[in-house]
Symmetry: C3
Subunit: 497 residues, 3 copies
């Protein structure tokens, strides 16, 4: 140190001074040693900090991450336990008349059980591996890699959500209602394929262009008979553009987003079942059935080939879906809406080698409004409670939200039209769908309360009434009646981390 350099100049000091000076030098050396030790400790701490992965365990989730953030693994879980109650006694699981209808049971049910591995590799490749084991089934929901080359050009390959419907694209835990609204009977769900996507114009516009196996309306690729394998060679093209033009400008319109999406495919199903002893399935016909939103009860299906009987209706040619969509969030208030239209070529082979073919246009729409009572800011994802619920400390109530929606789905009238010549029952029997068993139109309004205890736990209580046109008959099976209005009360306990 500095002391050592000046020492030689003090050679003529007295003994006492000399001794003292020696002591001081000794101290100086000790200090130098200490100083060096401290530096080394600091360096070691810094080095360790740079090597030791970051572990997190909080309301934000559980995971580990390399210091540079390039490698990350998050261990996630989501469980939904529902209660479903049909107070009016008019929730029917099967049948199409007062005589034959079978009441759906009031039940607790395990709706979702979803462990997931989410993370990043090499700082560039995001992945999500998410499977669902609820209901005794195994469904891989997401299994994709998203290569984030640049913000405006990313490549996402594997099983993923088809980039189409705005409510469908919302996270499973972020929906305002326990079950998604009626338009989702038309909106494709998960599929296997690849999409190019990205954000442009200062992140105010996002686009997606995809190429997928193609799934039936409201369906996923896991609902094919060979789960997660296409059952025909034709594929679907998907495109979506969505803009939040005022995203970067604080003000009344900042929370506005709108866009449009479309899918196109040319796919041919089969009018008969796989064998003479098996009924035709949706997978074979490539045609969907529709079910009520909160009640989850089927109210529409096309005529299907039963074992050994007449051929059923089947998808036979082009299928074009398109959907304008928007959301708007302002303070505690939220609004989300979408319209979906599907033009589907269908055919039916009738006895006497008669083949009929038409394009059916089904459509649906919804609008859902939400209001946060406890001061949180509304958005496309769940609100973050300002004061998490704590009964003991009395510090918070969590977040409370009121929600309301209206949705409807309309089946093309041509689906029910009689065909050809002959008696009324003969010509009616040739329709694509049976007007006594399949509903022409369903419209539903619903209201509910969401209680977000904290970021991880949510309780919901919803009520929905769905009215129907058609789809019902009398005991004799000859009259054309309306399916009784379905009333459902549902509860949900959701845990997500």
């Amino acid at each position: 140190g500095a002391l050592a350099a000046t020492s030689p100049a003090l050679a003529n000091d007295s003994d006492e001074l000399e001794k003292l000076r020696a002591l001081v030098q000794e101290l100086d050396q000790k200090i130098s040693v200490l100083d060096r030790k401290s530096e080394i400790a600091e360096e070691e701490a810094a080095a360790k900090k740079n090597q030791t992965p970051i572990v997190s365990a909080s309301d934000q989730g559980f995971g580990i991450k390399s210091v540079d953030g390039n490698f990350e693994l998050r261990l996630r879980g989501q469980v939904q336990t529902d209660g479903r109650y049909y107070p009016g006694g008019d929730g029917f699981a099967s049948g199409n008349s007062d005589a034959t209808a079978q009441q759906a049971p009031n039940t607790f049910l395990l709706k979702q059980f979803r462990p997931a591995l989410q993370g990043a590799l090499w700082g560039k490749y995001d992945f999500l591996l998410l499977s669902d084991f609820a209901g005794g089934k195994t469904v891989v929901q997401d299994a994709y890699v998203d290569a984030k080359f640049v913000p405006w050009f990313q490549l996402k390959a594997g099983k993923q959500k088809t980039p189409f419907g705005i409510e469908r694209l919302q996270g499973e835990s972020d929906g305002k209602f326990i079950e998604r609204a009626l338009p989702n009977d038309l909106v494709p769900n998960r599929d296997i394929g690849v999409q190019v996507h990205g954000k442009v114009a200062n992140d105010t516009v996002e686009y997606a262009l995809g190429y997928f196996n193609g799934v039936i309306d409201g369906g996923s690729s896991d609902s094919f008979s060979n789960s997660d394998t296409d059952n025909n060679t034709d594929k679907d093209f998907v495109a979506r553009v969505f803009t939040t033009p005022f995203k970067n400008e604080p003000g009344f319109l900042q929370g506005l987003g709108f866009g449009i999406a479309a899918t196109y495919g040319d796919q041919r199903g089969s009018g008969t079942g796989a064998s003479s002893t098996a009924a035709q399935t949706s997978t074979e016909s490539l045609l969907p059935s529709f079910k009520s939103a909160l009640g989850q009860l089927t109210f529409f299906k096309y005529r299907t080939a039963s074992a050994g009987a007449a051929d059923g209706t089947y998808g036979d040619g082009e299928r074009l879906r398109w959907s304008p969509q928007f959301y708007y969030y302002n303070g505690p208030f939220g609004l989300l809406g979408e319209y979906v239209r599907v033009s589907q070529d269908v055919s039916r082979n009738l006895s006497g080698n008669i083949h009929r073919h038409d394009t059916l246009d089904n459509d649906a729409w919804q609008i859902v409004a939400s209001w946060l009572l406890t001061g949180e800011v509304a958005g496309y994802t769940n609100p973050l409670p300002k004061r998490p619920f704590d009964l003991e400390k009395g510090t918070g109530l969590g977040a409370w939200e009121l929600v309301a929606r209206y949705s409807e789905v309309n089946v093309d009238d041509k689906a029910f039209d009689p065909f050809g010549t002959g008696s009324a029952s003969t010509t009616q029997g040739r329709s694509y769908a049976d007007p006594r068993a399949a509903v022409r139109k369903a419209s539903a309004w619903a209201g509910g309360v969401n209680w977000y205890l904290n970021k991880n736990i949510k309780l919901a209580l919803d009520y929905e009434e769905t009215s129907f046109d058609g789809g019902w008959t009398d005991k004799a099976g000859s009259a054309y009646l309306d399916r009784p209005t379905e009333k459902v009360l549902s509860t949900r306990l959701q845990v997500a981390f």
Copy 2:
């Protein structure tokens, strides 16, 4: 520092002294700097310690936890690989006579494959997500949140064990035998619902009050045809109280616990299968079948409707289960016992519009004793080996335990009674259960050895003989014989972390 304050008083020192003093001052400053650095390092370390989640990897398991303990995730796994061997050649998988009986194969089998996510959120909400993938099936075993508001009032919602049977409530890995004893044919297993539970009186009394979908005897909600959804609207009420009165008083009785549990429901099944081509299932009849404990072979079932044939027996009305139960642990010795009685209303629709209805009372009991040879302390959960097995170092043998049990199940005689008028074969054909195919009484004794190599690995070897009254016939199918005594030898390798 102190030096700076005294410096002005030394203005008349000699040059040498002055220089030395300057040096000393310099040193003092260096020390101050070092001291401050050390303080900062300490503060940083402390701060980091308060932020960095705690990671654990030991025989206690693997997991991460926030410093305040409020957020925790444990990653658990349990695998059981069994060997099952029927040395007497009298283990029958099907058939009810020497002519028709089919020998069950000796086999290795994968009994359990259970990954689990367990943890806590917000310090108050415990969760367990446990699924089983053994046997090519997907079964969600546990999917619940347990809100620990106060010790005497906790709310547990989701899929969970019905709080009823003492051996059933023991952990899957903690059982003294490879398979649970015969009373578990009557004890409900997992169900979906909610329970209020807690501990009172210095933790000496625990209670549980539950409301569940309701499952058949020995069954789980995943065995319904729509897995984990109720198949009827009626629900089960469950109550259990269990006390360990001397828990806090060391002495002979400290390890004694006893209690009683009950379930009540009023549920109606169906006497026919879902369609004319399908046989009636347990889900439809709401009635159980019974199987042997270690051998896992069915020896009792009610008459079921086969495709197109006569109607089967079905649960039709009240079902009341109750069970007194106890355990006692003292040093290496353990004893556990339970009695279970089920009063079940059943009906059967016979030809000629004859409807018969009865209340059947089936019961079962067991007593199981265990003795630890290596000095560990017995308890309701697995013992912790004092000296884990280590062949190389020769430091330990693990824990060794001898176990023995007796158990039996009795079916109500009324289940086999003939009914109405007509020939013997006609009236016998109207019984609820066929005495030539369904056993009236099964009684089993078993012995075994458990070797706990360490906290995580367990090997077991069990032998059981089950004797039967009834349930067998001759080649002509007319005689009323006893099902041959079943002899089973089983092994298990269990890994749990």
Copy 3:
């Protein structure tokens, strides 16, 4: 410190000196305090380091491990998304003539979705819990503990790969082609049981001796009707020895390994289905069907009992498999080959109480070559890219590899021989396999490119042509033709961590 000891000797110093000396003493004490603090901090850091488990998050994977390494848990995942395209239009999913053949669809498919828990307990017990959820199925692939007592004596129990085929034993992600070659139609896959294994002679020889349930050729124990439970009492013995004699001697032969494996069992299947309304399954017959490698389309099966019709062929007695095998790696070049032969006793019960019985010898072989273009070193597992792909920084291309292979499978001619007396169609109908529907010989050549972007992500593009002898007929079903050559183009995106 040293200063304190010398202080008394300086009692006659001047006041100034005395004061200075006091200051110096003060400083010395401060330094001592600081020194001690620093020591404590070091000790604490060292202690913490010894207690805090090691967390890893890198291209090597994600996991936690105790400091002594005795307890470790790694969280792994592997996903494969494939595209399968039959450019020639000659990939047939069913049928055996131009009239009846059904084209297999071009499809994206989810081939593997495999989360896994891998680790070690007590430093000695390695475990692997690996399940696959792709295709809507749940399959436990690995569920074993491997007790590493000493290197030459290890005990592996649970569900695991049968130690037999060299390509089968390669990791699922390490194969040179998207699908394994034709010999794997004969090679047993996963089974439940136990093996003793180890390495001797300076790790140049590895051996395995196993005792397993026994699975059909190309099958796993999960394909039994009761998944992961044996369907018959007889078991398989397995043995394998493999040597890399020059492993420890750098040079031309260092990368050479060769060995031989065998399985033996005496197992009896059934010539009929389980019931009069169910067709006979592979599980019942204990006989395999064969499918093409890259195209995964079935081209050979034995005659099976259909509902109510004639009995099918079934495994009936001894089954001996043996396989010489080798690999050779030198720099960027790799070569792997195997030959597999199965001698299988089969029987068939014909009308008129005629029972025929034979031993059929089927065999198969393959050779696969690979060449790394980017300088990596070839081996039995995936190469580690020298320069991971990075488009932005332009620092690397990843690793590129060219691969080629030839493989074939031959069915014993006796399988197709007519039998007994009568018309040609009668005697031919008594053969074990139908020569118009089952192929006598399949030979396939394939080429492909593998692009390892980095250690975790791999893209593959393969093409394969498979030619067949027999297995096809004309519209009338009478001619003996060759199944059309199958052409397949496949892609794979693989993510593994």
